[in-house]
Symmetry: C2
Subunit: 149 residues, 2 copies
Amino acid sequence: MILSRASQYAIQAVILMAMQPQGTFVLNRDLAEQLNVPAPYLAKVLQALVRGNLLYSSRGRNGGFCLREGVEKVDLMQILLHLEGPQFTDACLLGLKECTDETACPIHKQWKPIKHKLARVLRTETPGKLARAVKTGKYRLADLPMSML
Amino acid sequence: MILSRASQYAIQAVILMAMQPQGTFVLNRDLAEQLNVPAPYLAKVLQALVRGNLLYSSRGRNGGFCLREGVEKVDLMQILLHLEGPQFTDACLLGLKECTDETACPIHKQWKPIKHKLARVLRTETPGKLARAVKTGKYRLADLPMSML
DNA sequence: TTTAAAGAGGAGTTACATATCTACAAGTAG
DNA sequence: CTACTTGTAGATATGTAACTCCTCTTTAAA
């Protein structure tokens, strides 16, 4: 039902970067401010994506982060696999360590297709698509400021 | 993607109790052993269900816990609402606090039907149904012992 | 060359879910 | 009544995700 905060921040950040003209370096500070998330923590998440070869980073003045070529077309699942375990879509709803078609918990049969639908969405959506969705103005990336709630 | 451990233990426990003849009191100790979960922690979870009027408890010899009348026909959602917040099915995949049809994150449209399918399963399944499923022998409640993996 | 601005990396802190411990209250059986 | 067995309640401990801080290196502008 939930992705880790790190994953959520990562997806938000790559969408925001995909909204920039290709090759634009964006500061961690600016990403954090626009997404309204803690900057030092976001930095760690971005560093993990750099190590996963999803982002370029550049130090010093005019530094920052930007998507590697083609990453705007990479599906979200590829990005999440760098942050969650390799089999985070395998989780059993009841928490059993071993829950497969052969040895299944009593709700496995109903849970499995739902898991698969989510996995399908994550394999379908990309930073580029979602960036375009945000640009239409119908969707938004960050929480609204308190004044608007 | 995940229920809290407390919720997972709760569901497992009510299924196990639903497998007993109606009105049978079961010891916390025996539930914990059969489910292979920590007994003191399970006790806390069961106490919460007692406070939620889902279980009877009885102290002293021949004591234990048993389902209140009709609880074997109560859907899992009702049970979970006592342990997770009232709106745990509302969660935004990206973690936004406010994510509704009107102010939506870019993946809201794809995530919403999946959330609803899970909610539907949780409102359809009951301890009684799942207990019968386990009794067929095709499904199991607890993790297999190490010797079987 | 100096200086400021950025990311990198590691250690430390906090908050919360999970798990445990201890003392107690309530019930049962003899 | 006494002894034993069970759940109850509150305090405490542990583990982990989330978050912060400090120092270092790299880069580029002045």
